[in-house]
């Protein structure tokens, strides 16, 4: 199942399409933060950064084609980071 013959090769076309999407999202993030949205622009910029990261991880880093175990440990790492961020802000904001 995981031998080399079943290895997934991502086509040049698909990679280029992902790159174009990343450039479009970069333009979007620059534009959206030029508008005065207050705290909204922080969330918009972070949301776009998360989408960009998702594209890089899924296609450039082949996560989409790896076994489920890889996604499970990615999930654990992200939950760990989110926990750190969450508890830090519980402390900082309600001190």
């Amino acid at each position: 199942m995981t031998n080399d013959s079943a290895e997934h090769i991502v086509s040049y076309g698909k990679l280029t399409a992902v790159w174009v999407a990343l450039l479009v999202l970069t333009t979007a993030t620059v534009l959206v933060t030029r508008v005065d949205l207050g705290a909204g622009k922080v969330w918009a910029a972070l949301a776009i950064a998360c989408v960009k990261s998702g594209l890089v991880i899924a296609f450039f880093m082949h996560m989409k084609y790896e076994p489920r175990l890889f996604r499970a440990i990615l999930f654990v790492a992200l939950v760990t980071l989110a926990t750190f961020i969450g508890f830090t802000f519980f402390d900082v904001l309600y001190r």
């Binding site: 995981t2 080399d4 290895e7 090769i9 991502v10 086509s11 040049y12 990679l15 280029t16 992902v18 790159w19 990343l22 450039l23 970069t26 993030t29 620059v30 933060t33 622009k41 922080v42 910029a45 972070l46 776009i48 950064a49 960009k52 990261s53 890089v56 991880i57 296609f59 450039f60 880093m61 082949h62 790896e66 076994p67 175990l69 890889f70 440990i73 990615l74 790492a77 760990t80 980071l81 750190f84 961020i85 830090t88 802000f89 900082v92 904001l93």
Partner: protein
Amino acid sequence: MSHIEKDTLGAKLGMWLFLFTELLLFGGLFILYSVYLARYPQQFSTGGRQLDLVFGATNTVVLLTSSLSAAMAVTAVKRGERRLTLALLSGTLGCAAIFLVIKYLEWSAKIGHGIFPGSAKLIAGAPGESVFFGLYYLTTGLHGIHVVIGAALIGWIGIKVKSGAIHTGDNVSLENVTLYWHLVDLVWIFIFPLYYLIL
């Protein structure tokens, strides 16, 4: 052809585990950034407006392109296109060089204006501003070191592709090096909005 068994999956899993430690390392810096942003919103804003958006945006495009080139190199090596693999890896190296030159210009402009950790200007200024620039130098500096290491690894892997040690049947080390390179890109995807855009 040698008959050494290679555990490709295990090698990649190990690389991913290492990348998670990197994620937590930079994650810590981003937490530090957001806590201080909450404490000194005004001064972070003043600091952030002094960063050059054109430099930041150009470097974003350069890194995204370098990542495309690295990802294509993996496709090329798996399809047995050795020349193309080498050309694409050179492309990534070229982008890394452009990135570092731009970073150099950016840092030297800031230092020329008396903005660097411990400078008289920052010591005399508001505390939030020196925290902002301290974090700016720490985060982009650590990221810059990663760019240098990533570029060195890409160069090393290029030599192995050229010598034929990495080929269609055995290319997991090339894959792992490109994974490292993509991590460098991922970190920049967050540095760019946090330091250059939202303030």
